[in-house]
Symmetry: D2
Subunit: 266 residues, 4 copies
């Protein structure tokens, strides 16, 4: 079993408390960095119930997602080689089936930031959020035809549009508290995406389509299949699942970010 339950290495310098995944019962586990640069914990679960728990505290700028309306597209020839994979098809992103559709919808938009924003705007406008319409096999093409889905479905469609327009785009997952926005019910991990413009990655979110405060990146990959919170190579049933992400103001009693996962082992 592999768990992606750490903050992303890029955010490790911000950690104010250790970020250590706890397993109950305690079993041996090891950490490694996967091919996309994410820190993973792997372990062999025994039959029976197993509880995964993590809680930490992280410093955040308190600033909303950065915006740079002048960010330009990077010609494919200049995209760093390690990012070329973010231009290709992946499990949930059928880039090849979208080349005509994307060009028709976004071919006339100014390349660069404006085009990615247009993509987010279109997806956000056209797709309706509904937990009831989630399913693990839903691909970008399904989202495009059904126009309904959850967080990750919004991002998959936007990512696929970006790639079809030759803009590297990758899936991101992490914590996102309801900071500066109305509280929206029980928390979950959140998904957003990153687009590569002007020589670096920028955060976009086709679900919320507005800059947000307090994203804590956990993992990036080509799509949701690369950054599953847990990947199990045998049968495992998730019994209970709870995420709490909250703001701890400097002058208040610390109420740290907490992630609790309680899948059953095989």
């Amino acid at each position: 079993m592999v768990a992606l339950l750490h903050v992303h290495p890029s955010r490790e310098p911000d950690l104010l408390e250790p970020d250590r995944l706890q397993l109950h019962p305690a079993i041996e586990s090891s950490e490694y960095i996967d091919g996309f640069g994410n820190r993973c914990t792997r372990f062999v679960a025994q039959p029976g119930q197993i509880r995964l728990f993590n809680s930490t505290l992280i410093a955040d700028s308190g600033m909303p997602d950065e915006v740079n309306e002048n960010a330009r597209e990077v010609p494919v020839g200049d995209v760093p080689s390690e990012y070329l994979c973010y231009l290709l098809n992946s499990r949930y992103c059928e880039v090849d089936r979208f080349s005509n559709i994307a060009f028709e919808l976004f071919g006339h938009i100014t390349p660069g930031w404006a085009r990615v924003k247009a993509i987010c705007g279109w997806v956000n406008w056209k797709v309706t959020f509904s937990y009831a319409h989630a399913r693990p096999t839903k691909s970008a093409l399904d989202v495009y035809t059904e126009r309904i889905g959850v967080c990750r479905d919004f991002q998959h469609l936007a990512i696929t549009f970006c790639r079809a327009m030759n803009i590297p785009a990758r899936y991101a997952t992490g914590y996102l508290g309801d900071i500066g926005v109305p509280v929206s019910g029980p928390m979950d991990f959140s998904a957003w995406f990153e687009a590569y413009l002007e020589g670096r990655w920028w955060t976009f979110d086709a679900r919320h389509n507005a800059p947000r405060i307090g994203r804590v990146l956990m993992a990036v990959g080509r799509d949701a299949s690369d950054v599953a919170i847990t990947t199990s190579f045998a049968e495992a049933n998730l019994k209970h699942f709870s995420v709490v992400t909250d703001e701890v103001r400097p002058d208040s009693v610390p109420a740290p970010e907490i992630a609790i996962l309680q899948p059953d082992g095989e």
Copy 2:
């Protein structure tokens, strides 16, 4: 444009002549190692015709693919972290849709070498080879239902079965001359696959289903989408394509391996 037209780094020690991709007209290109360990050449093609050419000479053991009927399966917990990706879904390999099917077909076979052989045998027996039925979107599930396809389709189905049985499997592409077998018409690059057993990768080939002599590995990946011979990020039409792979006996005049590709640039 990215070209995978080098021998795999693992075979570089065997090279007797340089392995250098030539572009006509000459344009600047650079090499890098991709996330799967393959050597790639990338370049920006100008509009018009471009010719890719490579020719080299490599030493080969002259031995058929290694066989180890005692090779055991590696428990998922012991699979090296960098190989876990070869257990998951990929573009052409819908592992999650095959878990029941694979278990029904191969669950009763002795784990390890015998199981991978049974998989190759089943695919080889059930699928018919036909160039006329190739198409770029054909996935393992399509091969399973249609039972017809080319080289890569055979390997995709076998790989998917292996992964569904928790055996890491990866797609391999390279040169394979008609050495020791009847000559089979115009040459092409060949596809086979590797399965991870007993702590290392072993060559299998669901298309030929028999050990062969003289495979020269070029690239490995999760499936054909990772190891396309050329990947183009704009429109490109392949005008002509020719591969010659031949044996050069120590006492004969060298007639080296040759790869010629002539895609048009955008």
Copy 3:
């Protein structure tokens, strides 16, 4: 809007009370027999809420589904022309993708009744019932790979297997009370299927896989898309839905079968 909310013409002689669909508010409606022989009501709904209601009483033999273990397959050449459509692909039944799979699973079973029973047994054994895994686009191939679904999914897979073995099979929907079996919670319309053997249609049910008492046929078709209880050609939201099917013994106060549907009009 079209509603299939009548008993099938073949059961009309058994009606002890009129079978009349009531609309509230009362709007003009008309009846017709569709291409599959089902009695339909069509009407134009005004915006706002509309309530469909029907209640009737029907005489039933009280006998379980007929069994004839000697029923033989009908050679395709002798299948009546109007039933040839029940051998072909339809929306949810990808017969062409199953020809190899069906032959591998059922090719060795004695043709006729035994083969259809083997198909029902396989589907019943391999597929798990789950309301949570229903979705309107689920096809027989999805059921085959996912092995989970509702009533109609079981029948779609069984129908597809039958057709792939050249046995005409059609989808059936109707009332099925919990008569002679434990009561199973809130009622719904039920789906089963019919196979054409020995010159007539026989009832099979891959979901329950046992003869049942008290089926009241409403409609038959190639698959669920032909016999939707209601088909709406504009947006309509089903607000409430209730079905009561119960046994009225000759000596008891009549408590008739009741179907209540309350979709909202556009």
Copy 4:
């Protein structure tokens, strides 16, 4: 085996010579009218080669396809019940997946003739004709994403758009000689479609997108799966196939329309 190799009953009054399907070797066959109103011949082929042949002469108005730019859409409530099936999903026409796409593309076009013309225009403009990209499983959604295909693919996409806009549309197949247009190579059966406007069916052709002279209708259905020229319920290989459709001017020696099909029996 079932063959659809007659002119459509609606054109029978125009026949100047008998329209009789000949089988070699001569075997017993019978005719019937299928559920869509087409005249079919069915027969049981013995193993070995079988030759189907038909040749007839038909009177044609010599006028191009009728045009009525004022033809209005028929409200769904007024569509005759027997045509409601031409509003629904069928094997190659995933109407439900197109509701959003169709509305975005054609929602702003004047309903009626102009909208169907806009649909034909869009399909004709966006889809490229290519025999090399035909495949029997290609659906309207595939055509929409791939933008390449043959005759029937054009019509399937147009039909699906029409239905998604609540315009009944059905697939039509028949003879279409190169009359009044440049000769276009070896002949084949042709596909077009009909849309229901102003109380009747009108001919449209998303492939040619221009009125043509000399269409001879053979069969209509929901899509190509309903009107296969031949449907075989066992293995059959088509060895040779030839269609000649030509104009016979009143003053010339008759050179009748000829259809030759030479599939092998099982």
